[in-house]
């Protein structure tokens, strides 16, 4: 047991050391790398897509919306007493306007610590059970420049890994259930938080010099879609055969946002329809040239999604090319 424990600690230590390669070794002495007249260009790419296909008639639908823009921030004033800066924000088709940003490491990390995870459970009346019905990390409040007090920042971020935190409470009318982060983590397929995929046996701590945080969760067949069914006038629960969420937040040592990347991929089959969804957010310093993800996201997603659906349904049903299935 001691040997196993030692091995685990060693792995964690190595992981942390590796992470520190790109981070500052000076835990508290990092200096700002953003000043008045600092100019930074970012790519902002947001896309949502959903592919649907009905289970009986194989009717297909595909919706995708993608917004890709480059913005430039030119800092014109900084007031560290109130932890704020003012920048000119320029967008290609819109023009230039004032942008006020907040820089306090403590307040910002406190905000992340409280709101980064969104976890919802519901009481399933028919199944007499607690069901996970929502999980996301969809907080995209943008902090482009942060005062680089990484020690306090990481202390607050550690709260995200506190297994005793109550993430939701559900009542079935008689009993109130408190679900902790530990309950949630133990129930899902897999997760990886800062390179660590098991927090059961060891209390997780973050290095106080980290400037990059990454999370990924696989909730396939654990999370359910809750749908109202007219016939039964009640809710039915359909498991997602695929539900993965990943989130990365990366700053320079001096506190300038390098990257925010979020991806959610889902697949769910209800009585009537198979739904596949992809959501993606990328905020990348350096503009479009710095982004590795292929552009024309909608078309990329469409081609990725069509193939498996075609394979699935080509076996299921064949339709006449004319579109007339059944002439009287």
């Amino acid at each position: 047991m001691n040997k196993k424990h030692l091995t685990k600690i060693s792995i964690i230590s190595i992981s942390i050391i590796l992470l520190m390669v790109s981070s500052s070794f000076q835990s508290t002495a990092a200096t700002r790398d953003w000043y008045v007249n600092t100019s930074a260009k970012y790519a902002l790419i947001l896309s949502e897509s959903e592919k649907t296909i009905t289970t009986i008639d194989a009717l297909e639908g595909f919706e995708c919306y993608s917004e890709e823009m480059e913005v430039r921030l030119d800092i014109i004033s900084i007031d560290l007493n109130i932890h704020e800066y003012v920048a000119n924000l320029t967008i290609a088709n819109i023009g230039t306007g004032d942008y006020e940003g907040y820089t306090d490491a403590e307040e910002i990390s406190d905000y992340f610590g409280d709101y980064l995870f969104d976890i919802d459970y519901t009481w399933d009346e028919n199944g007499n059970r607690l069901v996970l019905t929502d999980f996301d990390m969809e907080d995209f409040t943008l902090f482009f420049f942060i005062e680089p007090d990484w020690e306090i920042f990481n202390t607050n971020m550690e709260r995200l890994l506190d297994r005793t935190t109550i993430v939701d409470t559900v009542t079935d009318g008689l009993t109130t259930y408190e679900i902790t982060l530990g309950d949630f983590l133990d129930s899902i397929v897999s997760y990886n938080i800062m390179g660590v995929s098991d927090t059961v046996e060891s209390q997780f701590t973050l290095s106080n010099s980290l400037t990059k945080w990454s999370f990924s969760f696989d909730l396939s067949n654990v999370i359910y879609e809750r749908k109202y069914v007219d016939e039964t006038q009640g809710y039915s629960y359909f498991p997602y055969s695929k539900y993965t969420v990943s989130y990365t937040l990366d700053f320079t040592d001096g506190g300038t946002l390098n990257l925010l990347e979020y991806n959610k991929i889902t697949e769910m089959t209800s009585d009537e329809v198979v739904e596949e969804g992809v959501s993606s957010v990328i905020v990348q310093k350096g503009g479009f040239d710095a982004v590795n993800t292929p552009f024309n996201l909608c078309y990329t997603l469409l081609s990725l999604m069509i193939l498996p659906v075609l394979i699935y349904f080509s076996k299921k049903k064949k339709r006449l090319k004319s579109g007339v299935i059944n002439s009287a």
Partner: protein, 321 residues
């Protein structure tokens, strides 16, 4: 000369004979509907758009892309002959179901198409003392899937689309009101094609009474202007579109079932600060999404309707020489 004329007439006759294989010529027995109770049809629909912005002053660009593909299955459950309506049970790719009742009256539908087709917005350009086009739209609006195949009536109504005397907009300036007719518009734009024919100036345009397929394209490049408001001085500036192409295709079967509808727009304009490029399309296809992804060769589809008027037009032009 006579021999040449004879050869040309012979070719025309031969073409007409060939065409009559899959067409019912005017004056022949009434065309029978090819849609009836119990029929099931799948229609695919797609609305796509891509707009890009490139800043001239800054090293910045943006792009918006949207794709909306959908399928619906219509099962005809009842036809109300007296009120000319058809009831369908609809199923959608979302899994939802609904019941709809559509008009199928050829007169009503073609009148609606005609009345809603054009939108022109001309404006007085104060700075240059001129009338300019700042808004244009051409589409048939809500498309009907099933139509009573009374094509003679249908085409008679559609002919008013190309009435050159029709006033498309009025502009008031300096105590004067100018009326802009469709003829003014058609004569001013770089090019257009209505059913494949690009010149209606000298001959009143007529559509074959048996047409079931219609195509209209407009090139408004360097004629259409983008207006931009200066938010500081509250003055308007106008920038010509270097490209502004509009294309509409509507295609029914002889029996009155919608086969295809295409509405596309492609444009590019450079203002003081930005290059705008846009591609938009809206398509409907009988046969569903797979039919949408299959390239649709309308030229081939309407070839039969183009040959006769083109031959006649050529003859007329030669006669004038």
């Amino acid at each position: 000369m006579l021999k040449k004329r004879f050869v040309q007439t012979s070719i025309t006759c031969a073409l007409l004979t060939v065409l009559s294989v899959n067409l019912i010529l005017p004056g022949s027995a009434a065309i029978v509907r090819d849609w009836e109770e119990g029929d099931e049809y799948v229609f695919g629909m797609v609305a796509n758009g891509e707009i890009s912005y490139t800043s001239l002053a800054e090293d910045l660009s943006s792009k918006s892309v949207f794709i909306d593909e959908s399928e619906r299955m219509y099962t005809i459950t009842e036809i109300f002959e007296s009120i000319k309506e058809v009831k369908v049970e609809a199923k959608y790719d979302s899994g939802n179901e609904a019941t709809h009742t559509f008009h199928f009256d050829a007169d009503l539908i073609s009148t609606y198409y005609t009345n809603n087709f054009f939108y022109h917005n001309y404006r007085w350009d104060e700075e240059n003392s001129r009338i300019i086009l700042v808004g244009f739209q051409a589409d048939f609006g809500n498309i009907n899937y099933f139509v009573e195949p009374d094509w003679e009536l249908f085409n008679t109504n559609l002919e008013s689309l190309v009435d050159r005397t029709e006033i498309v907009d009025t502009v008031t300036h300096d105590y004067t009101t100018d009326e802009i007719t469709l003829g003014d518009f058609l004569d001013a734009i770089p090019s257009y094609k209505i059913m494949g024919i690009s010149d209606t100036e000298q001959t009143p345009f007529s559509i074959s009474s048996s047409s079931t397929k219609w195509s209209i394209t407009f090139d408004l490049s360097n004629y259409m202007y983008k207006s931009e408001l200066d938010h500081i001085n509250y003055t308007l500036s106008y920038f010509p579109y270097s490209k502004y192409l509009v294309s509409i295709i509507l295609d029914y079967s002889d029996g009155g079932t919608l086969i295809a509808y295409d509405s596309t727009l492609s444009y590019e304009v450079t203002t003081d600060e930005t290059i705008y490029k846009g591609e938009e399309e809206y398509r409907i296809r009988k046969g569903g999404s797979s039919a949408i992804r299959t390239p649709y060769n309308f030229i081939y589809a309407i070839l039969s309707f183009l040959i006769v008027p083109i031959v006649i037009l050529c003859n007329k032009k030669k006669e004038k020489r």
